[in-house]
């Protein structure tokens, strides 16, 4: 069974540029999570979906970050006008609702210069 896939694996931007991250969860998983992981810290939840609905985006910096999951399968996280403080690894995870285990993708390592 294929795991969670993410692309790109790496991105390097200048401040003010935009970037999109793409996630393909495990087939059949209804819940999808996006995390931000700064260097030497634990993953921090940004937003999560059940099917196509946003369940919690309270930690998403809404002025520059957006996330969609239009058909309840793949998802895109976008950063408009990136800042140096956005430098981190962005992780996608998926799970079945009510099952505790989340399955993580390899992440996208973003560097904002």
């Amino acid at each position: 069974e294929a795991g969670v896939t993410q692309s790109p694996r790496y991105a390097v931007l200048q401040e003010g540029q935009a970037v999109s991250f793409w996630c393909d969860p495990i087939s059949g998983h209804d819940t999808l999570y996006w995390y931000q992981q700064p260097r030497d810290q634990g993953p921090q939840l940004l937003v999560y979906f059940r099917d196509e609905a946003v369940i919690d985006n309270s930690q998403l910096p809404s002025d520059r970050f957006s996330a969609v999951r239009p058909k309840g399968t793949n998802s895109t996280l976008k950063i408009q006008s990136a800042k140096q403080g956005d430098t981190a690894t962005y992780l996608c995870a998926s799970s079945f609702y009510n099952y505790a285990e989340q399955f993580f993708g390899p992440g996208t390592r973003l560097t904002v210069l």
Binding site: D40, G42, L45, L91, A100, E101, G105
Partner: protein, 110 residues
């Protein structure tokens, strides 16, 4: 913060030694997850212990949970070089979100 410890901790041991990593949490949880993260990869669940369990074992891993002190531990017996990784505990605060601690970087040397 949910966590009593804010900074990534580091442990360095020799192969064959036993090691224990601790974490404490501030809010109620129904389950404590322990994840390991290898360099360049996403976290992977290695053991999960529920609030009605005091101990859980999986191979050389042993997790404990003390809900009265809101703390959990992960022990590795006879550590191997391949156990080198960052280990996180995480809680769910009785929701379907998982909140991660900062983690422990474990280095096992031959």
């Amino acid at each position: 913060s949910q966590w009593g410890e804010e900074n990534l901790q580091a442990l360095s041991i020799q192969e064959g030694e036993d090691v224990t990593m601790n974490c404490s949490y501030k809010t109620y949880t129904t389950v404590v997850h322990w994840y390991r993260q290898d360099s360049g990869r996403g976290p992977a669940l290695i053991i999960l212990i529920r609030s009605n369990e005091r101990e859980k074992r999986s191979g050389r891993l042993r997790a404990t949970l003390d809900t009265s002190s809101q703390s959990s531990s992960l022990s590795i017996t006879a550590a191997q070089c391949e156990d080198t990784a960052v280990y996180f505990c995480a809680t769910d605060a009785n929701t379907d979100k998982v909140v991660f601690g900062t983690g422990t970087r474990l280095q096992v040397s031959p």
